[in-house]
């Protein structure tokens, strides 16, 4: 066991040297952090997931309502043009309700969509609160760890980097799962209520757009909710971070 004698004298020039945390190492540590605190990570992720699932389901309902309207309009137009040869029971219902009370039906549909818009704003707020709460907790419970890392020579930026990677990973994965959950449930409901007629090209394109939006929102909110407390924790003097008891 040969351990070098400690350097006898550290000059100012040596102090100038850099210390570093390679990105691959940071990813490794972040992944480990998520994996080991798996139960905790699941709860954090569930908060994000449910928020995004709520948002996705509300937006998806709105999309279905738009698609439904379009189908009704097309059916009525086709009927009036005399292009419909075999009229199904569904179509009869559509045509009679659309033609007998056009004005009331329109207003109903518009009001319903406005309600959904409000609901999706609410969903986003719930989502934000849930994510902020989850990530705030996850930073706070690690103050001591942050203080320790700084004692070992970590720069503030290392701490922020670790949380950045961790939050983006958590945010991304839980948003994807959350979207799929909300999307699947609402689609399933519409299969049973409206049948398969709504699942055309428009359904898939709007699903894909909504997928992108949901994942972006989820990841971004998670990132924002983590970075503020992480930066604050990283800037604390190590002594103060180590003192924090939870």
């Amino acid at each position: 066991m040969s351990v070098d004698k400690p350097s006898a004298h550290v000059t100012h020039r040596e102090v100038r040297q850099q210390i570093k945390l390679p990105f691959s190492k940071a990813v490794e540590i972040s992944l480990k952090s998520i994996k080991i605190r798996f139960a905790r990570s699941i709860i954090t992720a569930a908060g994000i997931m449910l928020g995004i699932a709520f948002f996705a389901s509300v937006r998806m309902s709105a999309e279905f309502s738009v698609i439904h309207d379009k189908i009704v309009n097309e059916t009525v137009a086709a009927f009036q043009a005399g292009k419909l040869h075999h009229i199904t029971e569904d179509q009869t219902r559509m045509i009679t309700s659309a033609t007998t009370d056009v004005k009331a039906a329109r207003q109903d549909a518009i009001a319903a969509r406005e309600r959904l818009d409000w609901l999706s704003i609410m969903a986003l707020i719930v989502c934000t609160v849930g994510i902020t709460n989850a990530m705030l907790m996850s930073v706070t419970e690690r103050y001591k760890e942050i203080g320790t890392m700084k004692c070992l020579g970590a720069l503030d930026s290392f701490i922020v980097k670790l949380f950045f990677i961790e939050s983006c990973l958590t945010g991304f994965i839980s948003s994807v799962i959350g979207f799929l959950l909300g999307w699947f449930i609402i689609s399933l409901v519409h299969i049973f209520t409206d049948g398969l007629q709504a699942f055309g090209v428009q359904f898939w394109t709007s699903s894909l757009t909504l997928f992108g939006i949901s994942v972006l929102i989820g990841t971004f909110l998670t990132f924002i909710a983590t970075i503020a407390p992480a930066v604050r924790a990283a800037q604390m003097p190590p002594a103060a971070a180590l003192r924090v008891e939870i």
Partner: protein, 247 residues
């Protein structure tokens, strides 16, 4: 005076804490010179300011006024990068509560400072195993902190503190959370490292077992140095101070 003689010097160190509208002076003008390679214990009752002094020397907290020189470099002059470099390379920290990273194994904990220092993974692991061997934990490389006893955790912490060959080890109540026997083992280990590797050990403590192996003892009271004793002058009194056999 030889510039290399002192590894740490403090000049007129004052630290004030503000609590509501009251100002508490935890350190009230501390001048302390610590020789290279010595084992120095900072003794004092709790609330005497010894942890505050520990934090100031270790660059973990900024003093209100006065200065700390590590290897003749004024710590107040260092920017964040340089301060981190100092913490990484020059000072090793040991805490009462061990402060291991709970998600990492013993080996990963010891390797972490070597990553910051820019060592490659293989070099770091080699160094980590070597250090854990020195502290007698080479059979526990892949255990998580919660799978280790208090004494073992403190050994990992000591190995981690040594990771980048620091010239100073700062230990804040290293035996505070350990039973008598384990505490003695840790003290013996610190002394061994002090003698074998020439590391300066600065330990804040109120464990009287520490007295026996310290080269000098600083007594702190009300934020001031009460008295500074060489061990050879107080050895005679040891028997009276503590009934239990000292290692």
């Amino acid at each position: 005076m030889d510039a290399n003689e002192y590894v740490v010097r403090t000049k007129g160190l004052v630290k004030e804490y503000t609590m509501g509208d009251q100002t508490l002076r935890a350190l009230n003008g501390v001048d302390l010179d610590i020789y290279r390679g010595e084992y120095i214990s900072i003794m004092g009752p709790s609330g005497s300011g010894k942890s505050t002094l520990f934090n100031a020397i270790g660059g973990l907290d900024k003093p209100t006024s006065g200065s700390v020189f590590i290897n003749d470099v004024d710590m107040a002059q260092l920017d964040a990068q340089e301060l981190a470099y100092l913490r990484c390379h020059t000072i090793g920290y040991i805490f009462q509560t061990f402060n291991l990273i709970p998600v990492m194994t013993a080996l990963e904990n010891v390797t972490l400072p070597t990553i910051f220092a820019g060592l490659s993974t293989d070099e770091g692991i080699e160094r980590g195993i070597e250090l854990l061997k020195i502290v007698g934990l080479d059979k526990r490389l892949h255990h998580k902190p919660f799978e280790l006893s208090g004494g073992q955790q403190q050994r990992v912490a000591i190995a981690r503190a040594l990771a980048n060959n620091p010239s100073i080890i700062l230990a804040d109540e290293p035996t505070g959370n350990l039973d008598l026997k384990t505490g003695q083992e840790i003290i013996a280990l610190l002394k061994r490292l002090n003698v074998e590797q020439g590391v300066t050990i600065i330990s804040a403590t109120h464990d009287l077992k520490m007295l026996d192996i310290s080269d000098r003892i600083v007594w702190i009271r009300d934020g001031k140095i009460d008295k500074l004793e060489e061990r050879k002058n107080i050895e005679l009194k040891m028997g009276e101070m503590e009934g239990e056999p000292v290692h």
